[in-house]
């Protein structure tokens, strides 16, 4: 294998293949640590809060939320777009970086993909419960006319969303599972007790590492990556069309699809960094998720943050350039109206803050990266809030202008989805290898392997004699 003399090594610490398996399987094979229990318990409490607040929403109705006739979409859609966006980094890392043959993706793709799946689960909660009568949720599906209604409206971006999100969830789930199969087999063959052996055997589908299967497997992964790449772009494009195809000033913008996709990748990488900066410390994965991985992710954050910032400024320019006074008012109101604080939070978190990643010293400092990743998450949450609430709260009729405030139930649902997300993530870390074992071995620099070193030494000796 060709080794670039300039590039930093992707895995440090001169590991053997057996050691890689042992290192990555350690959290699975040992009882959970105190840190795991602490994190899991807190997340689980928030998950209970989700159940409570959703129960109240269903029992009482949407009246428990702060939405009203002027601001009909607010907190829920903000969170829907926020969570869908978080998911995008996983697919970007696993699909787009695979097509670009970026090897550094290998040690972070697994947890990023898991994140995608959990984030889409959180996202789906919001539109489903905003329907009010969740038990009628199947009306979203194109079912025959037995209920006295007509078919679903295929002209509506909201229906496209149903198809996009469900396809995205299914494909991501299968892609993730495909990647897990060889690693589940590794865990299975290392398992000591009967129950764990049974569990991992069931999920490993009889994987035995046959070269015939491997060659097919690699083609399947490439095909999945190839179709996931346009899929991930389509998902957030369609999410943005929920707004862009309407005629609300501030939403009716053709820049939305690329701007939303860039924002999604930006926020997703923010969340990946939040999780991995902690996970690599707690789970002792510092040899696998090195400082150079963080560095590379910071560069992506800076790039996409700047793209998003450019989009904010472009929107302003186009509002002025279009000459439409309603459009102009919407943007001036965004920056200087009652929600100015949300707008400037968004601007400073998304456009200004990531600029510090121009400095290598900062890109390689985990503490600053962690703080920055939280700032990015906050900024991107406010971006959606700004787009949705500030565009709606002052419509064409000044008598219906209103200041939207979330109720505690809405806040509790959002915090609850955080609980769901992190509970799932903690369970995943405990049950499944959170770094791809097989792929990590494949990118191990061959001449750094202990066995290879020993062999080459021997061969050299044999030659000289």
């Amino acid at each position: 294998m060709y080794e670039s003399p300039i590039r930093e090594r992707l895995i440090t610490g001169d590991k053997s293949y057996g050691q890689i398996s042992a290192d990555i399987c350690r959290p699975i094979e040992n009882p959970p640590t105190k840190a795991w229990w602490a994190g899991f318990s807190v997340s689980f409490i928030f998950l209970c809060l989700l159940v409570l607040s959703l129960t109240i929403t269903v029992m009482e109705g949407i009246g428990t939320w702060g939405v009203n006739k002027t601001v009909g979409w607010a907190w829920d859609i903000t969170n829907f777009v926020f969570w869908v966006g978080i998911g995008h980094a996983g697919t970007l890392i696993s699909a787009i970086l695979l097509l670009f043959r970026q090897k550094w993706r290998m040690s972070i793709n697994r947890s990023a993909e898991a994140m995608t799946i959990f984030a889409v689960m959180c996202a789906a909660i919001f539109p489903l419960f905003h329907m009010g009568r969740i038990w009628n949720g199947f009306w979203n599906l194109p079912l025959p006319n037995a209920l006295g209604s007509i078919w679903v409206n295929f002209n509506s971006p909201l229906l496209w969303d149903v198809f996009a999100i469900s396809t995205y969830f299914t494909v991501s789930l299968f892609f993730w599972y495909m990647g897990l199969i060889p690693d589940i087999a590794t865990v299975r063959d290392r398992a000591k007790t009967k129950t764990t052996k049974w569990f991992y055997n069931l999920l490993s589908m009889g994987w035995n590492g046959s070269i015939r299967t491997w060659t097919r497997y690699e083609v399947v992964c490439l095909i999945l990556a190839g179709i996931s790449t346009p899929l991930v772009l389509s998902v957030h494009t369609i999410v943005s069309m929920d707004f862009a195809t309407s005629i609300v000033p501030g939403w009716h913008t053709t820049i939305f699809p690329p701007y939303f996709v860039a924002g999604a990748i930006f926020s997703g990488f923010g969340m990946v960094l939040t999780l991995l900066v902690i996970a690599r410390k707690v789970m002792n994965y510092e040899d696998y998720i090195t400082i150079h991985h963080l560095d590379a992710m910071c560069k992506v954050v800076m790039l996409t943050g700047t793209i998003v910032g450019t989009a904010y400024i472009t929107e302003f320019f186009i509002a002025w350039y279009s000459g439409v006074e309603y459009e102009q008012y919407a943007f001036i109101n965004r920056a200087t109206g009652p929600y100015w604080w949300a707008y400037w939070t968004m601007m400073s978190c998304n456009l200004l803050a990531p600029q510090i990643f121009w400095f290598k010293k900062i890109r390689q400092n985990p503490t600053i990266i962690f703080i920055m990743s939280i700032i990015v998450n906050i900024g991107m949450w406010f971006e959606r809030f700004v787009i949705i609430v500030t565009s709606l709260h002052r419509d064409y009729l000044p008598s219906s202008w209103i200041y939207y405030r979330p109720t505690w139930v809405e806040v509790a649902i959002f915090l609850g989805t955080m609980g769901l997300f992190f509970t799932c993530y903690f369970v995943f870390c405990k049950l499944m290898p959170s770094i791809s074992i097989a792929e990590t071995k494949a990118i191990m620099p061959y001449d750094q392997l202990p066995i290879a070193k020993a062999r080459m030494e021997q061969e050299k000796l044999a030659h000289s004699h």
Partner: protein, 181 residues
Amino acid sequence: MKPTNFIAGVFEDPELIYRAAKKMNKSGVKIYDCYTPFAVHGLEKTMGIERTRLSIAAFIYGCTGFTLAVILQWFTSYMDWQINIGGKPNTPVLVTFVPVCFECTVLCTALGTIMTFWIKSKMFHGVKPDLFDDRQTSDLFILAIDADSNKNHDAINQILRENGAIDIRTKSFDKNHSLIQ
């Protein structure tokens, strides 16, 4: 009739199993399969495995998904019940069908390809794997040769030994084993 008796060369080093496989090829011994913890590139060429036709299958599944989506939308929005949107003219196929067509294409491609892969590789939930060594999914590389059809066992053993196999084993499975060819 599936072979049930195998000679297995056990290696620790992917480079050595590759060399052994090449030598095996040169001396005309057919390799049944190799079992490796990760995809060792080059081995499949040595073994003469042809490129899988899964990509063709994927294309066909994609076309199926696309067609189904067009039919669904054409039937519901044109044939069965047309929605009157501000009196705009209704045509059999609308440009607004594009996103759903795309999503259905992707969904069918993904599911179809994965299912075909599982069926072709005889991978099902609960299949008991037949392993040469518990460590073949972790850090050992196995080169398996059908012991029944290849009679020159001594020559095979010699090639394996000369190329750095750490162990040479004979292994028998019952005739329902899950090893594919």
